[in-house]
């Protein structure tokens, strides 16, 4: 049986000056005595109150826990180090205690990551939905004007300015009047708290969209594709749904929330940028699918109110979808067209309808963008 180590040598720094002192260390029953060469006791450290500090391999560097002083005791004698390790609970050179703490930290970090992801998937759209209606219309209009300027620049690629909009020439005036009559019926039935600002523009895509603040853009391509006034009205009703639901605001809030979560809190590591981008894109398009469904529902209700054919929206969507490829499902920001049409038809039922525009008005509207 080995003799118990009761004493050894080490180096002591008192934390007041950088002077090095070679000391003898006596292992008492409850405390460790640190003696200078002349026998004076420099310090008494209780075994329960010492901790190991960061040090190179082969060196045990001890400090007194909770002391403001930076006094350090450095031990190179391996047997003395083992003896102190055995006597002191906080000192654990095998690293078990540290590994346990570290495992706890890792477990909590992974749990935090998972919960933050759940917040992103569920919490962000919830909060955005609740906050979006609280933004005052005056703020939304200001914001809408700023966005409108940017959007206008990006869709008016030839910088035509006023000529970009349809319905201003003498020959197009009846078409403009018909369009205004159609919009007027929809606006009156919708009874929105803010006025709409619609514009038909020279773009070939069959599309229309609404910005926060009431600006609505209708593309020439959509008017070309529409065969009846109800089809055009259906799309407009859907876009009015976005305005009524404050979807523009919600979009901004969701974007900000995701940017915060995935930009600031998480993702600060090499390659994290790609994860952030992917997460934001996928989540935003998934929020968007729900929003589109809600707008479809609003559109059906509005069409019923003005006495139009609610199924017409489904018809024109199918016609448009026939010419485009949907692309990856993950990135679809609308639900796929067959689902949408089924949803619209299930809500539309078969109510009596009346013509929204007469034949002459509709013919004029179809020519609203003719420049000759």
């Amino acid at each position: 049986m080995n003799a118990m180590t009761v004493a050894g040598t080490g180096t002591f720094f008192d934390g007041i000056t950088t002077a090095r002192r070679e000391v003898t260390i006596e292992l008492g029953a409850t405390v460790m005595l640190i003696r200078a060469p002349d026998g004076a006791i420099l310090a008494e450290w209780p075994y329960g109150g010492i901790e190991a500090r960061s040090a190179p391999e082969g060196l045990l560097r001890l400090a007194k826990t909770g002391s403001p002083s930076l006094a350090r005791l450095e031990i190179r004698d391996p047997r003395l180090a083992t003896a102190i390790d055995d006597l002191s609970i906080p000192i654990d050179r095998s690293g078990h205690a540290e590994r346990r703490d570290r495992t706890k930290v890792i477990a909590w970090s992974v749990a935090a990551t998972v919960s933050l992801i759940l917040v992103a998937v569920i919490g962000v759209p919830e909060i955005a939905t609740r906050l979006a209606p609280l933004i005052p219309y005056s703020v939304e209009r200001k914001f809408g004007t700023a966005i409108d300027a940017q959007i206008r620049r990006s869709i008016d690629t030839r910088h035509a300015g006023a000529a970009f909009e349809c319905g201003n020439n003498q020959g197009n005036k009846p078409g403009r009047a018909a369009f205004d009559k159609l919009m007027g019926q929809l606006e009156a039935a919708a009874a929105l708290p803010l006025p709409l600002n619609p514009a038909v523009v020279h773009r070939d895509e069959a599309n229309a969209f609404a910005l926060p603040g009431g600006r609505v853009y209708v593309f020439e391509g959509l008017i070309d594709k529409a065969e009846t006034p109800d089809e055009l009205a259906g799309v407009l009703a859907h876009e009015i749904g976005h305005v009524a639901h404050r979807d523009g605001n919600r979009n901004v809030l969701e974007g900000a929330g995701l940017s915060f979560l995935f930009g600031m809190l998480l993702g600060d590591f090499v390659g994290g940028g790609a994860v952030i981008f992917a997460a934001k894109t996928i989540l935003q398009t998934s929020y968007s699918r729900d929003v589109e469904t809600a707008a479809d529902g609003y559109g059906v209700t509005l069409m019923h109110k003005i006495g139009g054919d609610a199924r017409a929206l489904g018809t024109i969507l199918t016609r448009i979808a026939g010419t485009t490829h949907p692309g990856p499902k993950l990135l679809l920001d609308h639900p796929d067209t067959p689902s949408r049409v089924a949803f619209i038809n299930s809500l539309a039922g078969s109510a009596p309808t009346k013509p929204l525009l007469d034949k002459a008005e509709w013919a004029a509207l179809k020519r609203i963008c003719q420049t000759s």
Partner: protein, 425 residues
């Protein structure tokens, strides 16, 4: 004969002078590799939250491996301090970002200039954070039981740094030696080891003279290439086509319009990248030598014998490992592609898309973290080691008589630097 004064303390025991180099690095490479690899894996699974623990581990390893005069340094910071510092910093940065956002929304003269204003403010805040982060790291560095500390108003440094960095940009880099010299002087004037004051004595003109050749070698071909490239574009034709509309513009662009300019531009960029690859290690070695040789603490002076070849060696090792890793990654990538293709196999559902996306993303992140780990383990550690081991310290006896001074500072600076994505380790 005089009586010994009872108040005079007994002479300190003479320590045998160490028969080892003055400055050494003792850390074991394999320990560091293991630390970094584990850290990279955990970074991935915690989406970055683990970075505070990894940074603390890295600093503990580097500090405790560095030995001066037989005694090694100690890093006394903790990951919890870094985390708290980051959370505090968020309470500053989030309202600030929101303020910028709403000001930009508002429009008007303030809104239009808000982009520039916010850039300036954030740059100032970034320099402020870097200075305070340096203070945190210094006060958590302990040598022979005495800590370093740093005084000086961080805001003054931030303004100074902003001024000099603007000058560097405006002068295309020529102001860099003057800027470094002034800023290092500021920092070292406010740096203390216990009660021992620091100084910086590196000369701006010396750095300028040593570096001017490198600058010329880089800038002259770049400028010539840019001028030649822009000169070969027919600007009047470009204007005409731009007016005609986007369709014609793109056809002209992709046709012959920019072919000449693109070719010259391509060659210029390639040459510039090659020059940077060769000149950067030379520049780094020169900068480190100049900086280390300017450090003073009281009468203690530091000089550096860092050789440029050592720096090239470090980067060479990195490239070697990176190449091996790339080969391994390509093999894994191809195998993974086949596996994912087999599993997904024509199914068009949402879940198969999610699976494929997650697999691709995971592979990409693993590769990036791999490169970053290799870089940390070869370049960061390699440079640390060869810089430390080529340091010579004169008048080291000064270190025997230093008294403790200074308090530990708050980690807010570190947190701010992390939140604003400035600063290293």
């Amino acid at each position: 004969m005089s009586m010994p004064d009872a108040a005079v303390p007994p002479p300190l025991p003479a320590v045998a002078p160490p028969a080892i180099p003055m400055v050494r690095f003792l850390g074991d490479d394999t320990v560091y590799w293991r630390l970094l690899i584990r850290g990279a894996v955990l970074l991935m699974f915690t989406l970055g939250i683990y970075r505070f623990w990894l940074a603390t581990d890295i600093r503990r390893f580097l500090w405790s491996g560095t030995e001066l005069g037989g005694d090694s340094f100690e890093y006394s910071g903790t990951a919890r301090e870094l985390l708290i510092g980051f959370l505090i910093a968020l309470t500053i940065v989030i309202p600030l970002y929101s303020l910028f956002f709403f000001v930009a929304l508002g429009g008007g003269p303030l809104g239009d200039t808000s982009g520039l204003l916010s850039f300036v403010l954030l740059t100032l805040l970034g320099h402020y954070a870097v200075y305070r982060a340096r203070r945190y790291r210094l006060t958590r560095t302990i040598y022979r039981g005495v800590r370093f500390h740093q005084t000086g108003p961080a805001w003054r440094y931030a303004v100074c740094a902003l001024f000099w960095f603007t000058l560097i940009v405006l002068s295309l880099g020529l102001a860099y030696p003057a800027a470094q010299s002034r800023l290092e002087r500021f920092k070292m004037r406010h740096t203390f080891f216990g009660d021992l004051p620091g100084r910086f004595e590196g000369s701006a003109s010396q750095l300028f003279l040593r570096g001017i050749l490198l600058w010329v070698l880089l800038m002259v071909p770049l400028t010539v290439g840019l001028v030649a490239s822009l000169g070969s574009i027919d600007w009047s034709e470009l204007e005409k086509v731009a007016d005609a509309g986007s369709e014609e513009f793109w056809t002209w662009l992709l046709g012959h319009g920019l072919a000449g300019a693109a070719a010259i531009g391509g060659v210029t960029i390639l040459w510039t990248l090659l020059s940077i690859a060769v000149l950067f290690p030379i520049f780094q070695a020169m900068l480190w030598r100049w900086w280390a040789s300017g450090l003073r603490f009281g009468d203690l002076a530091v000089t550096s014998r860092l050789r440029t070849g050592q720096v090239f060696g470090v980067y060479g090792r990195f490239l070697g490992y990176a190449l091996l890793f790339t080969i391994a990654g390509t093999v894994v990538g191809i195998v993974g592609l086949l596996v994912v293709g087999f599993v997904v196999k024509g199914s068009d559902s949402l879940w198969s898309e999610i699976f494929a996306t997650a697999a691709a993303l995971g592979f990409y992140v693993a590769m990036m973290l791999g490169y970053s780990t290799i870089y940390q383990a070869t370049v960061k550690l390699g440079l640390w080691r060869c810089i430390v081991e080529t340091l010579d310290v004169s008048n080291p006896h000064v270190l025997e008589r230093v008294s403790a001074a200074g308090e530990a500072s708050s980690p807010v600076g570190e947190g701010l630097a992390d939140a604003l994505n400035v600063g290293g380790i």
